[in-house]
């Protein structure tokens, strides 16, 4: 809660000042309905696959469910589960998970700039930020413009909370049915996750350097795994990404919507 300061201009401190912009929280339940979407369906299949994956590597279900509210980004969740079961040190897991979360920074900046109400309290932005991941980014890209500005942030939080609860259900379902599934179907559920990641990368690519980053990361990852198995993602990300950026980055400004 910030007190009015002289920076707010004349009259801002008086009670005659124009009311500070406020979010319209009645949009929360509308967001909950907005979560029922193609993006939500894809997410549900991915989380069913995540549940099956956790079961396959014998990661306990309660801990698998805890990754949902705590991490809330599937690549980070998969990396955490995978490295933990492989006995990696907590520091190594922290670095690896954090690296997969770096992409959330630009993604969150884009979602927030589309949803935030300039001049309003900033605390809700810190709440929304925790929910931002690939699916919410897709939802905000496709549905946000039709929503009144002061309803956008509550709408997204409503959608994210709904998705979070639903994904706990789908993860549990995937975990429990993993045994009973025919092997073909079980493998397919797990395959869903990398396929969804890869196609989401292509769907989100806008410039040549995005495609270059995908190609170089995909090529360097397996190569780096041969040399330094624990650091393959870091090496592929930094080397491949930096090379793509230096070679093909857009030269003119105003390219990011």
């Amino acid at each position: 809660m910030r007190q009015p300061t002289p920076d707010d201009g004349p009259g801002a401190a008086a009670d005659a000042a124009p009311a500070r912009p406020r979010y319209d929280w009645s949009a929360l339940p509308h967001g909950a309905r907005g979560a029922v979407s193609v993006a939500g369906l894809v997410m549900a299949l991915s989380f069913t696959g995540f549940g099956a994956f956790a079961h396959a590597v014998e990661f306990p279900l309660p801990a698998a469910l805890a990754t949902i509210p705590l991490i809330w980004a599937l690549p980070g969740q998969v990396v955490f589960v995978d490295l933990w079961q492989n006995g990696a040190a907590v520091a190594v897991i922290a670095i690896a998970v954090s690296l997969t979360a770096v992409r959330l920074l630009p993604m969150s900046v884009l979602v927030l700039s589309g949803a935030r109400l300039p001049g309003a309290r900033r605390l809700p932005e810190f709440v929304l930020a925790h929910f931002i991941a690939l699916t919410l980014w897709v939802l905000s890209n496709t549905g946000l413009e039709r929503i009144e500005r002061r309803r956008r942030l509550p709408w997204l939080i409503g959608a994210a909370l709904t998705l979070m609860v639903a994904m706990a259900g789908f993860t549990t379902a995937g975990y429990l049915i993993a045994d009973r599934l025919p092997p073909v179907l079980a493998a397919t559920m797990v395959f869903f996750t990398p396929a969804f990641f890869m196609l989401s990368l292509f769907a989100g690519a806008r410039w040549r350097f995005d495609y270059a980053a995908i190609g170089l990361g995909a090529a360097l990852g397996p190569a780096a795994a041969l040399v330094a198995p624990e650091w393959d993602l870091l090496i592929a990300g930094l080397v491949g990404g930096t090379a793509a950026f230096l070679l093909l980055r857009p030269r003119r400004r105003g390219l990011i919507k």
Binding site: V38, V42, F53, A56, P60, P62, A66, T67, L70, P75, G76, V78, F80, V90, V97, T100, A101, V102, R103, L104, L105, P106, M107, S108, V109, L112, F126, I132, A186, A187, T188, V190, F191, P194, A195, F197, M198, L199, L201, F202, A203, G204, F209, D210, A213, G215, L216, G217, A218, L220, G221, P222, L233, L238, G240, G241, T242, F245, R249, P250
Partner: protein, 109 residues
């Protein structure tokens, strides 16, 4: 449940904190910084390459039930999904469906 508590405790640091820090940085950045800065484009490129590498790691070194499938099945299905994505005018949904269908078919035959 008892075996989960140590994992969840570690997750607060090695999962939650290290993930949320990037989201908090975004809140700070969006209030102050220029979203068109070159630094963000570089971060975007690194993140993209990193996730692509993560996908390849899962395809090349899968765990669990996916490990019972052939490497070529996984790679062919992925490649088909990408090809169909472009043929279907950059539809991720159709590309994904194509990858899954081919993956099932290749395993069944």
């Amino acid at each position: 449940m008892s075996q989960s508590w140590p994992i969840i405790a570690a997750m607060l640091v090695a999962g939650f904190a290290v993930t949320y820090v990037w989201r908090v940085l975004a809140v700070i950045a969006v209030g102050a910084a220029d979203p068109e800065s070159e630094v963000l484009l570089w971060v975007r490129a690194v993140a993209t390459a990193l996730v692509a590498a993560l996908v390849m790691r899962i395809l090349f070194h899968p765990t669990g039930m996916l490990a019972d499938t052939h490497l070529w099945t996984r790679l062919a299905a992925m490649a088909a999904g990408i090809a169909v994505f472009f043929l279907a005018r950059r539809s991720a949904d159709i590309g994904l469906a194509a990858a899954i269908v081919l993956f099932v078919v290749l395993q069944t035959i």
